[in-house]
Amino acid sequence: MPVLQIEDLHVSVDSKSGIEVVHGISIEINEGETVCLVGESGSGKSVSSLATMGLLPKGSLKVTSGRILLDGENLLDLTPAQLRDARATRMSMIFQEPMTALNPVIKVGEQITEVLQAHTKLSNTECHAKVMDILEQVGLPDIERVARSYPHQLSGGQRQRIMIAMALVLEPRLLIADEPTTALDVTTQKQILKLMKDLQQNHGTAVLFITHDMGVVAEIADRVYVMNQGDLVEDGPVKEILTAPKKDYTRRLLSSVPSLVPRSPRPATSPKPALRVTELNKIYGGSGFLSKAKTTHAARDVTFDLTAGRTLGIVGESGSGKSTVARCVMRMIDPSSGGIRVGDQEIGGLTRKGLHPFRKKLQMVFQDPYRSLNPRLTIEESIIEGPVNYGTPKEQARTRAAELLELVGLPASAAQRYPHMFSGGQRQRIAIARALAMEPELLVADEAVSALDVSVQAQVLELLDEVQSRTGIAILFITHDLRVAAQICDEVCVMRRGEVVELGATADVLGNPQHEYTQSLLAAAPGRDWDFANFRPVAA
């Protein structure tokens, strides 16, 4: 008998309209098996898992029909108290963001102990021993100290290990993991995936793993279910799905995954330098009346050049200083020392007022298109605000805005609408149009495609490429995603802890990495052995 058996599950919005968001899906997971539920945002994958745990947000979503059987027992028939008893003992869940999923004001050891107190009658000593045992199992160092720490005192990877410990301490039959590694760096992700695999083998847990990342799927899945807009598209063993997908949607999804194989180098067209950064340093903290003088060297002697019409990628994990460099280049923060030359002008030391004429030449596209557009302004108002500020007549700016919207693939009628009426991908196009309206020479894209689904990501990357070949703009592309970097960058600069460890043509750096850090990053990239777009393993 399967551990979890979802039969014809329907979930609707809990209101009069009753719009259905999950249309009758069926899923089976056996003991010791890892099943991946894949899909883009809005596919209903998280909703299905929350329905299983009985954690659908009250008053907004409800199960309308179907059965969810855990070891043959229908969870939908349980009383709230019975369901509570089943959680953590027979089924557990871990979530995407380990910072927000742990209570910030309670020590992590106590948060695990709480599970034992709620479901067992163990004495304090027994509880403590069990907590220490599970902390040991999830591979945490110095467990006594970790148990006494608050979440913010631990790293992202450690926090996720705590979440896993909390979920597995009572050895549930089923573990649901909702994008558990999405918020982590690749090297940490690799460790966490391995940990989950090991624990699963030791305990025989059935794992329902929800992800949007095909690389992760290739790494851990036994079987795969593909979901799209509340429907189950197809399912099968992982090899079958990756090599011979039957449905168009699955094929499209796989084709959108950017390849780790770097793009072929483009010939350098213009020798005109667009950006030259020399020995840039940024030191945070240290000053202040009677305060502790603790400094962070966020960027150390960073030097690179970028010529017009080319794209330079800065890649690195969190804390590598890549965003600090981007913000210094934009002069959103002041560099501690070093030169930033845009075109022929040194802007590193300019005052706010002196900087004004050059702001126009530098524009930025941010990570989260949901928050980077002012929700109270129409698209047109957002786009023309900059040019009008620099003296362009309003009528002219409007005409230009219409052209730009067309350039980024949106109808001109979009101009009068508000940001909330657009999808994430469309908003990112708008953000790009807004940046281009200033006719900048340099576009800084800070994780500009990281929040987007792969199919949308592919389109936005294509758009950036197209815009670049039309306008000859230089792009500084900040990303943590080596796949994306491989597809869009001419040169890549790898950063770690504020320092550049490797800099060169993308084909060289990613194709034949010299520095061990770059090598370890590549080795950690999930699914590096798969060429998803061609439905086959990478030819060795």
Binding site: R84, R87, A88, A101, L102, V105, A118, H152, L290
Partner: protein, 313 residues
């Protein structure tokens, strides 16, 4: 932490100095001559001059100010123009009733308002929530003296459960003290309860949407444990802030409440000295209340680090 404390105390000095300048100027610039009041209606111009001279009212303002500050620093708040007693003694006499009322009010407010807010947030949209919100609008919008007289009418005159007004020291007669303190404290607390209940509800509603609340439920904890152990402490910081800033309401409420219930506290002293234009007393009282306000808010800021381990000074 000690460095932070030192910094905050040092930062309070300029604040208090600005308060002192305002207090000093405000009273000098208001119409009405203290010498004339002291001397009474029948005084001759010569007598007035003599009084002004003895009080130093003829000196330039700056000289008066420096002299005044100098005396303050030595603990000399001057002498009451009316009773001729040192101001510091007057304040010390009247301090205890107000402190007692304030303590009872604060405890009562927190004890009533926090559970109310939690209940309203937990049962959001239900009749309980609507009841709490209605009460909090009423508590906020009905003036303190109206509530005071309504409570007296109901509990003291109609039901005869409690005395109408007055004050007894708790050391003399605790039962008498308690019976007389309940109504003033309730009166004063009404606006505070309204404020804190609203804030608790709003803050808790935010927290209930957090991921860690979902995690707590996923662990199979009971709703009570989710609410009180996981949600409430995270919701506490904004509530503490409101308790601190709302302290100003308490100060103004004290003035009215003590008049309504005839309590010989600082509030009554304030009203009496304002009517009598008893400058030294008014000045001392304003300085005292500002000082207490600054102190309370410092304590509140320090309490954040107890509530939330991420906040460290």
């Amino acid at each position: 932490m000690p460095i932070y404390l030192l910094r905050r105390v040092l930062a309070a000095i300029p604040v208090m100095l600005v308060v002192a300048v305002f207090v000093f100027l405000l009273l000098r610039l208001t119409p009405g001559d203290p010498a004339a009041i002291l001397a009474g209606d029948m005084a001759t111009p010569e007598q007035l001059d003599r009084i002004r001279e003895s009080l130093g009212l003829n000196d330039p303002l700056l000289v008066q100010f420096v002299r005044w500050i100098g005396a303050l620093l030595q603990g000399d708040f001057g002498t009451s123009l009316i009773s001729n007693k040192p101001v510091i003694d007057l304040v010390a006499d009247r301090m205890w009733p107000t402190i007692w009322i304030a303590i009872i009010t604060l405890s009562l407010s927190v004890a009533i308002a926090v559970p109310m807010g939690v209940l309203a947030a937990w049962k959001q949209g239900s009749w309980v929530d609507h009841l709490v919100m209605t009460f909090s609008v009423l508590g906020f919008s009905i003036p303190v003296f109206v509530i005071g007289y309504l409570l007296i009418k109901l509990f003291a005159i109609d039901l005869k459960w409690l005395p109408v007004q007055g004050y007894k020291a708790p050391s003399d007669d605790f039962a008498g003290f308690a019976a007389r303190a309940v109504l003033p404290a309730l009166t004063l607390a009404s606006i505070y309860i309204a404020l804190i209940a609203r804030m608790t509800r709003a803050s808790l509603l935010d927290v209930l949407n957090e991921d860690y609340v979902r995690t707590a439920r996923a662990k199979g904890l009971t709703e009570r444990r989710v609410l009180f152990r996981h949600a409430l402490r995270n919701a506490a910081v904004p509530v503490m802030t409101v308790i601190g800033t709302g302290f100003a309401l308490l100060i103004s409420g004290v003035v009215v409440t003590e008049s309504v219930y005839n309590i010989p506290g600082l509030g009554r002293l304030t009203v009496d000295s304002i009517f009598a234009r008893d400058y030294p007393v008014i000045q001392a009282l304003i300085l005292l209340t500002s000082g207490v306000y600054v102190m309370v808010n410092l304590l509140i800021d320090l309490s954040y680090s107890l509530l939330d381990p991420r906040i460290r000074y």
